[in-house]
């Protein structure tokens, strides 16, 4: 009480205000709680803090080479050396951006794609895949404030945050079947049919994250057809073009089926994984339109939104991608390197599965090689995931998603053994997988 009186007298003199920092001043941020840690970050931090020499990080989906090291494709290194930004005038930033967008949409929709040739798209560079999704979500909110987004169950967790932050309610649709460890196609189609007409859906066109399970071509055609019937809006998040099959065109097949069928899709593209440009935040958002006038209008609205978020996207990554995609030699080099990356991951899948089978595991591990892309949805239980961490110093997402990029020839045996141990123990204690 006396302390308060003394303090209040102090508040009336200017010199005394200098001492506010040592008194308990009004804390503006008292009501701010600690935010929950991002799950991927948490896994990464635990891994880094672990002193065990043979620890394995299967958490975050960044590509690693056979030695477990970060890998920058040669074509990117070449592009870095070549970039002479010193000749770049700021006025050319928008020209570079336009070129970047053009090359990106060609990559996604096909060089000879009708929509590309006729300019029937609104395209802007974005802050990688996340930025593209968020930009679209904000755009969706502006023009369809009462709409929702339908996300596959499961999906990359940040999808939920992105649309929620844009204040669009989230619904999920069936995707993963835990019994078959494959696609629950019937339930998926059912959900598509039962959703209100003209709903917004998010689809992974290839290398689904986290399951690695992609629909077949037939299944995609059926989904596209049902979308037509219901007049749904298909939004594709393509973060792994090239990582599924090793072939850029094959991996874009689903997207192109929808475009052929006449859907005016939305597409988020990321160059983080397939060009190893993670930290540069390079992506592209495109929305197909009926004519070029509409394309200009939509583009202007997208620009308006991101202007107020960050004015313009960072130029360095855009320059790298543009250079690589528009230089035929570099582009060929890149295609080769993608194949190498995709093949390495596939080889690790094969090896891991074989090792487990050789250990006489009584479980089926064929899902390891059935699934595609960077991730393996292992099907392990949360307890098993914890056990792997505590006993074997193997780190993965809480949903038992394994980043195959973190598996190398030198750790795959250890990994197989650990998984075998953990599942065998569970079997012995009658815990169902």
């Amino acid at each position: 009480m006396i302390m308060m009186m003394i303090l209040s007298r102090y508040f009336n003199s200017r010199t005394a205000r200098r001492f506010v920092s040592t008194c308990s001043g009004h804390g503006w941020w008292d009501k701010v709680r600690v935010a929950p840690k991002d799950p991927t970050v948490k896994v990464n931090e635990s891994f880094l803090a672990d002193p065990f020499p043979h620890k394995i990080n299967l958490g975050v989906g960044t590509y690693r080479d056979d030695d477990g090291k970060p890998f920058t494709p040669q074509c990117v290194g070449d592009a870095e050396a070549k970039i002479n930004r010193y000749k770049l005038e700021e006025t050319n930033s928008s020209e570079v951006s336009s070129k970047f967008v053009m090359e990106s949409v060609k990559l996604a929709y096909g060089n000879d794609s009708f929509v590309v040739r006729e300019g029937l798209y609104a395209g802007v560079p974005t802050l990688s895949g996340t930025g593209a999704c968020r930009l679209f979500a904000e755009f969706q909110r502006n023009f369809y404030p009462d709409s929702q987004i339908h996300l596959p169950d499961p999906t990359w967790p940040n999808h939920h945050n992105i649309w929620s932050q844009a204040q669009i309610p989230v619904k999920t649709f069936h995707y993963y079947d835990p019994y078959t460890k494959g696609l629950d196609f019937d339930a998926l189609i059912s959900d598509v049919k039962n959703a209100p007409d003209s709903s917004f859906f998010l689809l992974h066109p290839c290398a689904h994250n986290p399951t690695g399970i992609d629909p077949t071509e037939e299944q995609w055609r059926e989904i596209s057809y049902q979308f037509k019937v219901k007049n749904h809006f298909p939004f594709f998040d393509m973060a792994y073009q090239g990582f599924s099959s090793g072939d850029l065109d094959k991996d874009a097949a689903a997207l192109r089926i929808f475009v052929e069928d006449g859907h005016l899709v939305g597409l988020a593209q990321s160059f983080a994984k397939n060009m190893g440009l993670f930290g540069h935040k390079v992506g592209c958002l495109s929305v197909l339109t009926r004519d070029i006038k509409q394309a200009a209008a939509v583009k202007s609205q997208l620009e308006h939104i991101f202007h107020s978020m960050y004015s313009s996207p960072p130029i360095h990554g855009i320059l790298l991608v543009t250079m690589i995609l528009s230089d035929p030699t570099m582009k060929e080099q890149w295609k080769k390197e993608i194949k190498i990356m995709a093949n390495r991951i596939r080889a690790m899948r094969t090896t891991l599965r074989r090792n487990l089978e050789d250990l006489d595991s009584s479980f089926s591990w064929e899902h390891i090689t059935n699934q595609v892309g960077m991730f393996c949805f292992s099907g392990l239980t949360p307890d098993q995931v914890k056990y792997l961490e505590k006993q074997f110093h193997i780190y993965m997402s809480p949903d038992a998603r394994i980043s195959m990029a973190g598996v190398t020839p030198s750790n795959v045996n250890y990994l197989a053994n650990a998984i075998h141990q953990v599942t065998r123990i569970s079997e012995e204690t009658s815990v169902c997988m």
């Binding site: 008292d30 050396a81 945050n161 313009s312 960072p314």
Partner: protein
């Protein structure tokens, strides 16, 4: 209206299970697709689908209003006159009116290239070395707030991106709080304004500013420009800053600084941070958005930071975690390139010294240009009008006091491109063009109403 394109698609009629009865079903009728129809014809085992492209979900979306500042540059580019002068956007130009890449930036990039730095994701809060360097640059390395770990710094996408993070934080934790900005200010935010610019003196309306800040409801966020006010170039004196801090404390407001020109106002990085440091020294909790676009010429790299200086380190930790949580669904983590450049420049003593010298050079060029412009106008204009505000204003911009019509005259008659509020960017002016500009200003001021 736009023509609709009709595409033919041949779909293989493969063995279908019961769940795909849909295609068979439609043989009974036509499926309606939001304005277009789907027709089927079957021939030799193949079903071909002739489908009109759907009516776009985004039909009828209008063109967004053009950005006023960027629009100026576009108009300038389209102008074919030899005499044209771009005083629109606030990007530094050399005397030859070329963009300028700082030597320290080139050196830093070469270092990075030689080292072969990897391109891994940054943490959500950005590059640690960058965050540390940035907070120290703003507050001084030995600032008690830093020593006491009361500063939460998160790398952001330059000034705009950092402001946006700050705005999102306010929106989440202080929904309905008022935000007060100077009239005029940069940008298109529709918030309440406090008086700032006095057209009679072409200077600061200090009384009006204090009155308006006082009148705002308690707990208002007050946006302040740390130095080199954009667009006016008019900064309060240190004495005036003290009084501003007084009234903000009295009303329990929270100050939110936008520091986009540290080093550009006076040429000294420390001097230009005086206003922010004054507030922090009083123990006030402060938000600060920083940008390296101008002072390191890193416009296109989008590098800046959001700082929250709070009353305790525990509070700073919590706030930082929430800033991260807001950033994750915006872009996951910030871009690496600009952050590494800054970290290298600020973190390498030799480069840091070189930067300070280049900074002084850039600010010096602008001061020279101001002087020359003032000298040219004063000697040509016999009306007795006081043009000394050109010298009193500071930083990249000058508020000429020209109204919209007069500004239009500048462009239409003299091919001088500027914003309609009468702002000229001195960064785009060369000594060689000062005489010409003087003529244009005098003509517009006296002969156009």
């Amino acid at each position: 209206m736009a023509s609709s394109s009709v595409l033919s698609v041949a779909a293989q009629c493969v063995s279908r299970n019961a769940s795909s009865l849909s295609i068979n079903e439609t043989h009974k009728g036509k499926a309606k697709l939001g304005g277009s129809t789907l027709r089927f014809s079957k021939s030799s085992g193949r079903i071909s689908m002739t489908v009109a492209v759907n009516v776009s979900r985004f039909e009828g979306i209008p063109m967004a209003p053009p950005d006023p500042i960027l629009g100026v540059s576009e108009a300038f580019r389209a102008d074919t006159s030899d005499a044209k002068l771009n005083l629109g956007v606030g990007a530094y130009r050399t005397e030859e009116l070329q963009p300028y890449v700082l030597n320290v930036v080139k050196k830093a990039e070469n270092l990075m290239l030689e080292r072969g730095d990897n391109k891994e994701y940054l943490p959500i809060e950005g590059l640690a070395a960058f965050n540390k360097a940035t907070a120290e640059l703003l507050l001084g390395a030995d600032n008690p707030a830093i020593k006491e770990q009361r500063v939460a710094t998160v790398q952001g996408l330059s000034g705009t991106g950092s402001l946006r993070l700050g705005a999102a934080l306010i929106e989440r934790y202080f929904p309905g709080a008022k935000v007060l900005i100077s009239a005029p200010t940069w940008g298109v935010v529709p918030w309440s304004e406090y008086r700032y610019y006095d057209p009679r003196t072409v200077g600061l309306d200090f009384e009006g500013m204090i009155e308006d800040i006082k009148a705002a409801p308690e707990g208002t966020f007050v946006l302040l420009h740390g130095c080199a006010h954009n667009p006016t170039g008019i900064d309060p004196t240190l004495e005036q800053w003290e009084k501003i801090a007084d009234v903000i404390q009295q009303k329990n407001h929270i100050p939110f600084f936008d520091v986009a020109y540290q080093g550009f106002a006076s040429g000294s990085l420390d001097e230009d941070a005086a206003s922010v440091r004054l507030f922090v020294a009083r123990g006030m909790e402060v938000l600060v958005a920083q940008s390296y676009s101008k002072n390191l010429g890193l416009y296109a790299e989008r590098i800046g930071a959001m700082n929250v200086i709070s009353s305790s380190s525990e509070s700073a930790t919590r706030v930082k975690s929430q800033l991260k949580r807001l950033a994750r669904p915006m872009y996951s983590n910030p871009p690496v390139h600009g952050a590494k450049i800054v970290a290298n420049v600020v973190g390498t003593p030799a480069l840091f010294d070189e930067w300070k010298a280049e900074m002084e050079m850039m600010a010096g060029r602008i001061k020279n240009v101001r002087q020359k412009l003032y000298d040219s106008i004063s000697s040509k204009d016999k009306s007795g009008k006081d043009w000394s505000f050109i010298l009193k204003q500071i930083g990249m911009f000058s508020y000429t006091g020209l109204n919209k019509n007069q500004s239009d005259n500048m462009t239409n008659k003299w091919h001088v491109y500027m914003t309609k509020d009468g702002r000229i960017s001195l960064a785009g002016l060369s000594l060689a063009k000062c005489e010409y500009l003087a003529d244009a200003i005098i003509d517009s001021f006296h002969n156009v109403s």
